[in-house]
């Protein structure tokens, strides 16, 4: 009887082992990613598609700038963990922030907006000069270097996104912005973890509405 039990255990173990070696599990997300990047688009087309189709939902989920600045002052680590995206290894992180206020000055390379904050107010600088960073590409964390065969394509996507923002958002805003105008904005901020601003941030606007 005992021998029979041992025999069955051994047979069961062998069958299990055979089954284990016959079936392989792969992560689905890896396949999805491959499919997404297998689409034969140029870096310029990828930037355009991202700007038109994939970026708008993120704009809607931007964080209130007062809430963010409060957390940044009180608990910078938590603010970075909760609201930022970082690409690779480095100190720069990207945030998508929204707010509203009154234009207090229009300058050559920026527009300053006064935003009410509790009982006080804050001056938020909206960049209206030529922007050279990677905030738009990197703020959602959805475009990564690993998506591209070579990093030049990855960099081209950023350059093209900056051009789109400049043409479609910054230039129209720059021509209409006047002191005293009420403005609602959504913008990308790049903040260095080692140089956290105490009470202010500079934003690249990605959505603007003037009253």
């Amino acid at each position: 009887m005992n021998r029979k039990v041992i025999k069955y255990i051994v047979l069961f173990a062998v069958a299990g082992l055979l089954l284990y070696n016959s079936v392989y599990f792969k992560k689905l997300d890896a396949k999805e990613k491959a499919v997404a990047t297998a689409v034969n688009l140029s870096p310029v087309e990828i930037a355009q598609k991202f700007w038109r189709d994939q970026f708008p939902p993120y704009i809607d989920s931007a964080v209130d700038i007062n809430e963010f600045l409060k957390m940044l002052q009180e608990n910078p680590k938590q603010a970075f963990e909760k609201y930022s995206h970082t690409q690779g290894i480095g100190n720069s992180s990207f945030f998508l922030l929204k707010g509203e206020g009154v234009v207090s000055s229009v300058n050559e390379e920026d527009v300053v907006v006064t935003v009410k904050s509790g009982s006080g107010e804050k001056k938020i600088k909206l960049n209206t000069g030529i922007y050279f960073g990677n905030a738009v590409r990197d703020v959602t964390g959805k475009i990564t270097m690993g998506d591209f065969n070579n990093t030049m394509d990855y960099n081209t996507v950023s350059t093209e996104l900056n051009k789109l923002v400049h043409t479609e958002i910054v230039l129209p805003f720059k021509t209409k912005a006047v002191k005293g105008a009420e403005v609602k904005f959504v913008g990308c901020a790049e903040i260095n973890k080692e140089q956290v601003p105490t009470d202010n941030v500079e934003l690249l606007p990605v959505k603007i509405s003037l009253k």
């Binding site: 082992l17 480095g90 690993g146 960099n155």
Partner: protein, 316 residues
């Protein structure tokens, strides 16, 4: 009958052993030896990169050997061939050529040896196990913004390029021009390769100065060329009027910024990249297989304002 049963049990145990061996995907456990293949040992930056990778691998318990490709893809291929017959468990790889090095990495992959690229990229996905790369484009953007500021948005300048075919050469030059070309009063009057080499940097700068004696700025794709260019400018008595910008964060460049000779450099972090590659290789050896395809490592602008926070090849 008893013998028969014993024989069956032995047979089953044998089957168990064979299938257990197969479970590791047919991978034979290799020796704890890492090969470090570096594009050149004729440049202190790459010597530091190779030695740091070696030190980290040794600290993790591996035997190591450094192979010098002498900036030559044929030498690099020979290095790979030697490595692949010598039972190394991983290759920490600084490629010579973004396209030309792909075949070598493919051969290693076919032989079951993981390759971790450091600093320089290969133009392929799914071949190297992971690529830990300096974000040279964004670093050059930061240098270019400072260049525009220091040059007061006007003047003529020249550019010394690195090795043609290396993605870092393209990334640094493109990043720089993505900014500077927006300022029409900043005019580039000459652009030439000096192969990332100090002596060639000096030679090229000397010849450029003869053709363009009125330049006020030089952007160099690495610090070795910047040091060579500065030497040529000093020889011509123009070191005070021509502003020199480098890239890498090499020891002598940091010292030169302190002495107000070089204006700026882009600090890469070879220590971070080399150590990360060795750590990844160790994790691979221990069974991990899920690594990011490419990881950018940020480059930081170093000028006279913040140079005291830095030392050669990194932060203090």
């Amino acid at each position: 009958m008893k013998k028969m049963k014993r024989f069956s049990s032995l047979l089953l145990m044998g089957a168990l052993f064979i299938f257990s061996a197969c479970n590791s995907g047919g991978e034979k456990k290799k020796a704890k030896k890492m090969a470090i293949v570096v594009s050149t040992l004729n440049n202190p930056w790459f010597v530091f990169l190779a030695q740091t990778a070696e030190a980290k691998a040794k600290a993790l318990g591996y035997e190591t050997k450094i192979f010098d490709s002498q900036n030559n893809t044929a030498t690099e291929t020979n290095n790979f061939e030697n490595i692949l017959v010598a039972d190394y468990c991983a290759i920490l790889f600084n490629p010579t050529d973004a396209d030309g090095s792909v075949a070598n990495v493919k051969k290693a992959k076919e032989a079951g040896v993981p390759v971790f690229c450091i600093d320089r990229e290969i133009n392929a996905k799914g071949v190297a196990t992971s690529q830990i790369l300096s974000d040279g484009y964004s670093g050059s953007v930061e240098i270019a913004k400072y260049f525009v500021e220091v040059m007061n948005k006007k003047g003529t300048y020249v550019e010394l390029l690195g090795i043609t075919g290396d993605n870092n050469t393209r990334a640094r030059s493109s990043g720089f021009h993505s900014v500077v070309d927006n300022y029409p009063d900043l005019k580039m009057v000459a652009q030439q390769s000096a192969d990332f080499d100090r002596s060639k940097g000096m030679e090229v700068m000397e010849s450029m100065l003869q053709a363009h004696p009125d330049i006020t700025g030089v952007f160099c794709g690495n610090d070795a060329m910047a040091m060579g260019a500065y030497q040529a400018l000093a020889g011509a008595g123009k070191e005070k009027t021509v502003k020199v910008f480098g890239f890498d964060g090499a020891d002598d460049a940091i010292q030169s910024i302190k002495e107000n000779k070089l204006m700026a450099t882009g600090m890469q972090f070879p220590k971070i990249m080399a150590e990360k590659a060795a750590e990844f290789a160790d994790e691979y050896y221990k069974g991990k297989r899920d690594f990011p395809e490419k990881i950018p490592v940020a480059v930081e602008l170093v000028t006279a304002k913040n140079v005291d926070s830095y030392m050669g090849f990194g932060k203090k």
